[in-house]
């Protein structure tokens, strides 16, 4: 099994604040890996480094052997590494269908390298039809066909997430990074989403996800990487992570207010 993505000793500092320190892990082709950790652990920062939105202070990220250092986000996407966003995952003023058409941007590039000349000369005619067929197929696949002609900004939260996934898939990625994809979804939406993640993997796409929903993470992941205060504190399959003392401490804190509160509640229940 070869690593498709290697995070190599990445460190990120914002002034004096260390957001990530010496983060080092691999994701293998075909895996579903989750990146978890308490709030502020540096998960989204790590995502931003991997996708070129943030330059690491040290270290490097390699994707299929290529260094991502000094590559802007759009160039990284073209290498086959796509992502979704935590909050705003759609182009709000366009229809869902047009969202996916925008997402198919690089697919249109096959017809010519100069999009604005294509536009002027009307060279995009045949390619346009193909793109439309593709967009429809993609919307069908993620289950948004019925919403195709609604404004994306007016959709329910969970559906906007699906649009975000469709947009990322439109770039034909080899690997997909999902930033808290099920936050704000109800239980049944989450179940549907887990099925979708598995289907994406079946298409041969490697998945790395950041998520707070622990049951979902435990269910879907092959492997889990745990961060706390910007450091990697544990790594392994879900069963091992569930019982790892360092992870439990990170989430509940030793002798922390949360743990005392939990104990107090238990005592009260016994009494």
């Amino acid at each position: 099994m070869s690593a498709i993505l290697s995070v190599e000793h990445v460190g990120v500092r914002f002034g004096g604040l260390v957001a990530i320190a010496d983060l080092h892990f691999d994701v293998h082709a075909g895996e579903i890996v989750s990146l978890i950790g308490p709030n502020g652990a540096g998960k989204t920062t790590a995502f931003n480094v991997m996708t070129g939105f943030l330059k690491p202070s040290q270290g490097d990220v390699r994707f299929r052997g290529t260094s991502l250092r000094d590559r802007p986000p759009h160039a990284i996407t073209r290498l086959g590494l796509a992502r979704t966003f935590q909050r705003t995952s759609v182009f709000p003023d366009d229809t869902v269908f047009d969202n996916v058409m925008i997402g198919l941007h690089q697919m249109g590039a096959a017809s010519g390298r100069v999009p604005f000349l294509d536009a002027l000369l009307g060279r995009s005619g045949a390619g346009e039809r193909q793109l439309r067929v593709r967009a429809e197929a993609l919307l069908d696949w993620v289950g948004l066909a019925a919403r195709a002609y609604e404004k994306a900004g007016g959709l329910a939260y969970g559906e906007q997430r699906l649009v975000g996934v469709a947009l990322a898939l439109a770039t034909e990625p080899a690997m997909l990074l999902l930033d808290e994809p099920v936050s704000g979804m109800n239980a049944s939406e989450t179940r549907v989403f887990v099925r979708l993640i598995r289907q994406i993997r079946e298409r041969g796409i490697t998945i790395l996800l950041v998520e707070h929903d622990m049951p979902m993470v435990m269910e879907v992941s092959d492997r889990i990487v745990v961060l706390n205060y910007g450091r990697l504190i544990a790594e392994g399959p879900p069963d091992r992570i569930r019982t790892d003392p360092a992870v439990i401490e990170a989430y509940l804190g030793q002798g922390s207010a949360a743990r005392q509160a939990a104990a107090a509640v238990q005592e009260a229940a016994h009494a």
């Binding site: 996407t77 182009f91 366009d94 941007h105 536009a119």
Partner: protein, 344 residues
């Protein structure tokens, strides 16, 4: 249906001068309005479709005017260090071409310079650029005659060798030239925003991070838009110079940029026809008001009209009207049929 409406508008503008008869005052107002409308269309390409406000848009217009005028007048300038540049007059049509290219080139520089930072910075860079260019035009007297103005600019001559040549001296001829260039610019913009390139622009405007993440190159896309926008403004400036046949540094007045912004915003930024509607309205409003009130009062009405439009239709006339029409249609047609997804 939309296309029909457009053709009707074009046909209407085509026969308008015939309907007006030989009224030089009205024809002049129409020509200047047409030229400013082309400027507004080019501004809309940046402001409406990418969200970047160029408050120095008049710089490209003025550069086009001066480049075109100097190309067709010729000049003899001492650059110092014993360098002397002499340029013999070329045909005015070549001036129009060079004006487009030169303004486009300036658009490229400004785009490259400022799209790394965007937003407010772009506004500031464009304002400063316009001011610098104005000062050059004002003070480089040897080249531009400064405040004395460039005079005797030749009219544009069109034609093919062997077929005959026409020098566009009359107002009527200039009217049709402006209409033709305006239609061409409209066509170019419509083509641009209709396809893949237009989607990239919309994506960047609505959600830049997301657009980057689907592989859209922001700097390149915005720079291309800036070049095309500036080139169109330059062409408009050239038409202006060869129509008025005299230009001075006042073509760089900030107020003209503001007029263009008003045309775009009132008509509906980010719509194709918006700047045309806004341009015709605000370009011809003074003509309509002139018989009934003094110039000072006209300005007040001008402002009032703008406020009322934006109060009633905050997104501009065209989006406002189409929303109104859409609502009426939705009322008469059952909601299910209006939704193509359900239809299928």
């Amino acid at each position: 249906m939309n296309r029909l409406l457009l053709l009707a508008l074009l046909a209407g503008l085509g026969v308008l001068p015939l309907a007006l008869g030989a009224n030089p005052y009205l024809l002049n107002a129409l020509i200047v309005t047409g030229i400013l409308t082309i400027g507004a269309m080019s501004l809309n390409l940046l402001l409406g479709f990418t969200g970047q406000l160029s408050l120095g848009h008049i710089a490209f217009f003025g550069i086009g005017a001066y480049v075109s005028a100097l190309t067709s007048l010729g000049f003899d300038v001492d650059l110092g260090f014993g360098l002397r540049v002499v340029h013999e007059p070329w045909p005015a049509a070549v001036g129009l071409l060079l004006a487009t290219v030169a303004a486009g080139g300036c658009g490229y520089l400004i785009g490259r310079l400022s799209f790394r930072v965007r937003g407010a910075y772009f506004v500031i860079v464009t304002i400063s650029f316009a001011e610098v260019v104005r000062l050059v035009a004002l003070n480089w007297v040897e080249l531009t005659q400064g405040p004395l103005a460039l005079t005797n600019i030749p009219a544009i001559t069109l034609g093919l060798p062997g077929l005959g040549m026409w020098t566009l001296k009359t107002k009527l001829q200039n009217y049709y030239l402006v209409l033709a260039v305006g239609t061409l610019c409209y066509g170019v913009i419509a083509r641009l925003i209709g396809g893949r390139f237009g989607r990239a622009m919309r994506g960047l405007k609505e959600n830049e991070s997301l657009a980057l993440s689907v592989g859209i190159n922001a700097t390149r896309t915005l720079t291309v838009v800036a070049v095309i926008s500036a080139a169109m403004a330059g062409a408009a400036g050239s038409l202006y110079a060869h129509y008025l046949r005299i230009i001075d540094p006042d073509v760089f007045l900030f107020a003209t940029t503001v007029t263009m912004v008003i045309m775009v915003v009132a008509g509906g930024k980010g719509t194709l026809i918006g700047p045309v509607v806004g341009g015709l309205l605000f370009g011809l409003l003074p003509v309509a008001l002139r018989p009934v009130m003094a110039p000072e009062a006209q300005w007040i009405v001008y402002g009032l009209v703008l406020i009322v439009i934006l109060f009633v239709m905050p997104r501009g006339i065209v989006p406002g009207l189409s929303a109104l029409l859409g609502r009426r249609q939705a009322q008469s047609v059952p909601a299910l049929e209006a939704n193509p997804a359900v239809q299928r």
